[in-house]
Symmetry: C4
Subunit: 249 residues, 4 copies
C-alpha cells in the first residue's frame, strides 16, 4: 500500500456531487463522531470511499463476526436536495505531520465531489460535567461565524482557549486556502466521557445550518453502540503501550 | 544499507515454494515468538532470508560467543507435504509507520514464495495469571474464523477489546488486500511474563489447522532458553533509555 | 500545501531590501516574541511574508472575531535608514529535525531580502525570579561578541550552560555558514512566566546595536496582550495531549 | 544544509590513509568520548572532517569565547606507523532511524580513508559505583573476541545483557557487512557519572590492541575539562524540555 490509499466504493464518482461535507472523526468526547455516525445511520448514507494510511495506528480492529479491518476513515454520500458527504472513521493520524497530510487528502476528495462548504464537528473539553452544553463555533470568515451564531451557536472570543486540534481545525483553515468555506461546531463536554448530550446539542444546530431534520431520540442509541466500540479501542491503546515495551523485551 | 534490506540465504528461492506462512515475532508474552522458534527448532527450519531495517531498534545484540548481530527478522523454510515459511526474529518496528512498511515487505516476500495462507501468532494480555489459557482468533473472512473455532479456538465478539497490534494484525488485514487469507491466533496470557503455557495452547491449535504434529514437551525447553535472551533484551531497552538521556549530557 | 509554504504579501520583494533580520519566535519566557511583536507594533511593520508548515502544531488558532488561522510564522518589513526584517509568529517546529528545516527556509528568505546581520532574541531560564535581568550574548564570531558586550550584554563563559535551543541558536550557526553574521541576545528570566521585564532589558540593548529608539513604556502593554494570547495557546497544548489520548479511545 | 553535511578540513584526503578507526562518541558514562578526546589531545590529532546533521539535537553550543557551534561530530587523523582516525563529537542522533543513517555515513568516511579495523569505545552501565572496572568486549568475529580477551578484556557471555546501543554497536555490525572487522570495548561504569576511571581501564586495553602508548595521568585532566562541558550539555537538555513545552505556550 502507499502511505495513503483511497479506495472508491462506487463506479461513477462524478455522479455523486455534494456541496456540503461534514467531518466527524474521533476526538474530545467523540462528539463529532457520534453526530457523523448518527447521520450516516439515520439517513442511510452510501459508502463512497475508504481511506487507510501509514499515518493511522499500526493495528487492526476486530469486527463482531471475528473478522479484522484496518483502522480507516470512511466517506459516505447522503442524497437529497443538498447532498451531503460525511467523513468519519476509526481514528485520526498518530503523528503531528500526518494531520496535515491527511487533511490534504480529505480536501482533494472534497473538491472531487464538488464540496463548497465544510462543517467540522467536535467537542470542547471543559474538564467538568456540563448539563446544558453550549455549542461554540469558529469559521474561516466572519460571515460564517454570524451564520453559526444565528443558528444557535455561542461565540465566545476566548473559547476554546486552545484553538482546534486535528482535522476539525485544519480542514477549516486549509480548506479556506482552496476557496472552501468552513464552520467548526464544538459541543461543550467534560472531555472524559463519550458524550451523546453534547452530540445532541451539536446536531440540533447543524440541522438548522444545513436545513435537514434529524431524530435526536435515535442519537442515544447510536451513542450506546459507539460507547461499546470505544471501550475496545481504549483498551487497545493501553495494549499497544504495553506491547511497545515488550517488543524488544 | 537501504531502509530495509532483505538478504537471501539460499540460491534458488523459486525452489522453496510454501503455501503457508506462520508469523511469530516478539509481542505480548512472547507467545508468538515461542511457538515460531519452537517450530523452527523441532522441524529444523532452513534459514532462507534475513531482514534488517532502519525501523528496528538502533542497537546490536551480543551472541554467546561475544559476536554481535543487528536486530533482525528471519524467514525459515520447513519442507513437507505443505511446506511452511516461518517469520520470526528479534524485534518489530520501533515506529508506528514502520509497522506498515515492514508488513508490506513481509507480504512481498510471502508472495514471492507462493504463500496463500498466513497464520499470525500472538498473546492476548489479560492482566492476571491464566492457568488454562483460551486461544482467541480473528481472520480476514468468516470462513476462516469458523475454521479456527472448529480447531478449538474461542471466538468472543468482545475480545481482544483492543484489536491486534503490530505485524500480527497488519499481516492479516494487508494480506487480505492482496488475496492472502489469514488467521490470527492469540493465546491468553498475563502480559507480564514470557508464557510457554499460552504458547503450548496456541501450538496445539495451530497443529490441527496446518496438519502437523509438534512435541510440546520441547516447548518448555525453548521457553527457558528464550527467557534468558529476553532478559537481556529487556535490560537493553532500559540501557537505551538511560543512554538516550546521556547522549548530550 | 507543501511541507513548507511561504506566501508573499507584497508585490515586489526586490523593493524591500533589509540588511538586518531580527528573530523573535516563541521560546523561554516568550522574551524574544515580546520584543519582536513590540517592534512590529511600534514601528508599524509591513507584513511581507507568512510561513505555514507541516512541522508546526497540527491545529488552528481562533482569532477574536471567531475566525481561524493556521499556526504560522510572519515576516515584517520596517523601513528606515537601515530597514529591518522581523521574524515572529505563533510557534516553532514540533520536531527536532523540523527546527533545522525551518531555519533553512528562514535563511533562504533572509538572503532574498539581502540580510547581512541576524539578531536572535530569547530568554535564558534560570529557574527563579530575576529583578534586574542581565542580557547574555553569543555570536558566530568574536568581533560580534565584543560588539554585544559594548552594547551592555554580559558575556559569561559558562552561561547559558545548555547552549541555545531552536531557531534562536540555529539561525546564528547555520547563517554563519552562509556568510551572515549573527548575535543572540538572551534575557535572564525565570522560565516560568511571560516576562516583559526581561524583554525590556533585551530591547534596550538591541536598540543600541541597531541604532533605533523604542518606547519601552509600550512594551508593558504588548506584554499584557500577549499574555492573554499565550494563556490560550498553553491550554491548547493541554487539550492536544488530552485529545491525543482520545483519538482512538 | 543537507540532512547530513560532511566538511573536509584537509586538501588531499587521499594522503591521509589510516587502517584503524576509533569511535568515542557520547554515551554511558562518557567513557568512549573521554578516551577519544584524550587520544586526540595527547597525540595532537589533525581535524580532517566535521559532520553536522538534521539528526542531531536542534541547538547550538556556546564556546568559551562566546561563539556558537552546531552540535557536530569530528574526525581526527593521527599519524604514525599505523595512522589512526578518531571519531568523536558532541552528540549522537536523536532519533532511532538517525543512528542507522549516521553510522552509514561514518562507514562511508572510514572506507574513503582506507580503514580496515574499527574499535568502538563505550561504557557498560551497571547501576552502582565500580572501583576496579572490567572492560567487556564484543566483536564481529570470534577471532577478534579472542584478540580482545588476550589484551585484557573480560568476555562474559551474559554481559552487557542489553547489547550495545547507538553507533558503538551499529559500527561493528554494519561495518562487518562492508568487510571491516570491529571490536567494541565497554568499560564498566555506574552509568550516572562521567567516569575517567572506566576510561583509563579502556585506554589501557586499547593501547595494547593498537600498539600505542598513552599517558593515563593526563586522562584525569581531560576528564575534568569534559566534566565541565558535559554539565553544560545536561542543563541544555533540561532547557530544551522546558523550551519544548513553552514553544506554543
Amino acid at each position: 500500500m502507499d502511505r495513503v490509499t483511497i479506495t472508491y466504493k462506487i463506479d461513477n464518482p462524478a455522479e455523486y456531487t455534494a456541496p456540503i461535507m461534514i467531518e466527524g472523526l474521533p476526538g474530545v468526547g467523540h462528539v463529532g463522531k457520534l453526530v457523523a455516525d448518527h447521520i450516516v445511520d439515520e439517513l442511510e448514507g452510501v459508502l463512497v470511499a475508504e481511506i487507510i494510511s501509514h499515518h493511522f495506528p499500526p493495528q487492526v480492529m476486530i469486527d463482531r463476526e471475528g473478522t479484522v479491518h484496518l483502522p480507516k476513515n470512511e466517506v459516505y454520500y447522503i442524497p437529497g436536495d443538498q447532498p451531503l458527504l460525511i467523513l468519519t472513521g476509526d481514528c485520526q493520524s498518530v503523528s503531528p505531520e500526518g494531520h496535515y497530510v491527511m487533511t490534504g487528502h480529505y480536501l482533494d476528495l472534497a473538491m472531487e465531489f464538488g464540496v463548497t462548504r465544510i462543517y467540522t464537528l467536535g467537542g470542547y473539553g471543559v474538564g467538568h460535567l456540563v448539563e446544558t452544553p453550549r455549542v461554540l463555533c469558529a469559521a474561516d470568515q466572519t460571515e460564517l461565524v454570524t451564520l453559526a451564531v444565528e443558528a444557535g451557536c455561542v461565540f465566545s472570543p476566548d473559547e476554546p482557549p486552545g484553538g482546534i486540534i486535528g482535522a476539525a481545525g485544519l480542514l477549516i483553515a486549509l480548506g479556506s486556502l482552496r476557496g472552501i468555506g468552513g464552520i467548526a461546531l464544538l459541543g461543550e463536554t467534560s472531555g472524559y466521557l463519550v458524550d451523546p448530550i453534547s452530540a445532541r446539542a451539536v446536531i440540533t444546530i447543524l440541522s438548522k445550518l444545513i436545513g435537514r431534520d434529524f431524530d435526536p431520540a435515535r442519537l442515544q442509541e447510536t451513542a450506546e453502540e459507539l460507547e461499546g466500540a470505544l471501550e475496545k479501542l481504549k483498551e487497545s491503546e493501553a495494549d499497544r503501550e504495553r506491547d511497545d515495551l515488550s517488543y524488544i523485551g
